[in-house]
Subunit: 199 residues, 4 copies
DNA sequence: CAGTAATCGAGACGGTACGTCCCGTCTTTAT
DNA sequence: ATAAAGACGGGACGTACCGTCTCGATTACTG
């Protein structure tokens, strides 16, 4: 499926699985540390303790490498608590945990910024971004089917309203987002900022 | 005030004013087109039709150059319509217009992404970002003083709730934001996504 | 004797004889075509249709491989016609034929040029070069014993006088040397260039 | 005239004359030390203490660089002593001195060996080799006009007979050639190896 | 007649060097 | 003093090989 997949065992020395992992890990680290432009296959090789040829044997350039490394970051798992509030809280809690436990919080701004002027990256990343939003869309759709939300609601815009505040906070203020403190953002999205009291 | 200020007229040939403008314009163009990393003083000079020395005579590196160019992008002007809804609509309309009419829509993601791993840029850009949010904070404070909002509201989080959806949309979907269509996002922020009907 | 000798038949798969020949032939071809530096064991393997391991199993590096390949080129056979002129003509005719029929004409300049800055190659090649001159030395010695030449003649210098013109021609002008046309060079060496009429 | 010529003084910083010299000197040294293949622009730059760009700004590749460096080695100056023997002795003495005082003795075998499999180098070097033989041709022509040599003599072959022994000696035995000891080779060429007594 | 052991092809691996490109600095002449 | 032009040292990158290595498959002797 992915570009760097280990091939079926044919003749010759098999590809190193350790190298594979080390390369993907180093890629993610470097995207977070130095950005997409400063990233290069040579640098990935250096960081991962692998020769350049070993990287190029698997990925033709840094672009598919970054795409694959990004795709291995954990995604949201769709919950089903029977009501929208709890579903959204569960999803945003997962999201906050991922931001806390993986490099995603620093990788995402970098890639978003790069997408603004790199159509090729943009084209490859868009489906992944869409896939990562899917669990939220599904939760909203279930809410509609349960009549918690009106049927003509704009689902995409709703996702923006739910995720936007957290994403913006991550982007510009670099502030930590407490997994235990996402309820207020869910309530703000569902009922408006009147509910948004200081904590 | 700014780094590239023209000096007082002394002996010798005076500095070219056209060059000054051309440099700042080229800088903004290049940030939008190729990003911050690919930007370089040499490239700015090439694009603006000026020699490298002419740029270096005014700015010691690309960093203050970018900062100054960014600072010249238009900011939000604080309105006062006497009620929060209209203030927010006016502000978001301005924001949408700026996104439409200036390179900001592409410059902002680039710089935000760069800030994620460039503390120096981050330190210089943070005050500007804060200043750009100030009109929103003020509008909210006026709403509190008018008792439109409870006094213990989290102002910063509120700004995130208001701006976040639009910013996210700009960042990830690259979707155009219609200046005439910001009302629904204001209402969604104030009263929740139940109000967020498809248009 | 040689480095690549086939081992005594023991257990296991025996070494391929065809591979052996193909490797030596390819080596000589490549020395002639691309020179000594551009030559590599990998390249020899590629050209001879053999895996690299098969070459390395027989020769530890390209150096002994080249030496052995060179040693298999035909050498001069000492004639004895009873007089110096006919002996030299026979020898030079052989030489011209070898130049015409084998890659020697292109291999020799390459190796000579390499010897100028490669002491290791030089040390291994010098005995072979000396051996190839031996028949000429012997012919001259017989001429001395027959009183065709004075006893205090400088044998080595004489060989240079005899071979030098042909070698120089081979090296710099790349001109073909006609086996039927060596008599004039023998006469020129023996009696001086007064005898060297245009043909 | 040559590829690396310093350009006419226009705008901009002028090219460094020291760098020019250092590059050509380093080129000649390296040809003598490591050969033509191991030579590279990068290596020349390293040896001459100059950046690679500085070399590439003047010569597009190592080939014209080597050609120009070679062309600056001293050439034979045509004497005119009124008789062939003294002319040839003077020429060969010059040749021996050049071999002793310059890197030519090691450069020439390298380039000759390379020419055997590099048509491009061969094409560029042939005219220079021809030019270096010209003084000998002229001396022979004068001898013909003075009736010292028959009119139908083969001039090119004569040059080979005269130079060949020395060149061969230089190539294969690496032996030093004493400038004071060239007379015997001249006599051997003119009157045959009977005159070639040990010294 | 199996079993063992060396050979063979294929190809992954770390390493090295190259030519290209571009940068920021420096040095010139011309306004 | 400023401006344009361009040479300079330096550094990083992607490419291309090399020699070594690890595999599975093949092939002959040997127990």
């Amino acid at each position: 499926m992915s570009a760097g997949t280990l091939p079926s065992p044919g003749p010759g020395r098999p590809r190193s699985v350790e190298a594979h992992r080390a390369i993907l890990d180093a890629t993610l680290e470097l995207v977070a540390e130095v950005g997409f432009d400063q990233l290069s296959v040579a640098r990935v090789a250096r960081r991962s303790g692998v020769s350049k040829a070993t990287v190029y044997r698997r990925w033709p350039s840094k672009l598919p490498l970054v795409i694959e490394a990004f795709s291995e970051l954990p995604t949201l798992e769709a919950p089903d608590n029977g009501n929208l509030v709890d579903d959204l809280i569960a999803l945003l809690r997962q999201f906050a945990e991922i931001l806390r436990d993986t490099p995603l919080a620093r990788v995402l701004p970098v890639l978003a910024g790069e997408c603004a002027h790199d159509p090729e990256l943009s084209a490859l990343l868009a489906p992944q971004i869409k896939a990562r939003r899917a669990p939220l869309i599904q939760a909203l759709e279930r809410a509609v089917s349960r009549s918690e939300l009106p049927p003509d609601i704009d689902l995409e815009a709703s996702v923006d309203v739910i995720m936007g505040p957290l994403v913006t906070r991550m982007l510009f203020t670099g502030a930590e987002i407490e997994p235990d403190n996402v309820r207020r953002f869910v309530e703000a999205a569902l009922f408006g900022i009147n509910r948004l009291r200081s904590d």
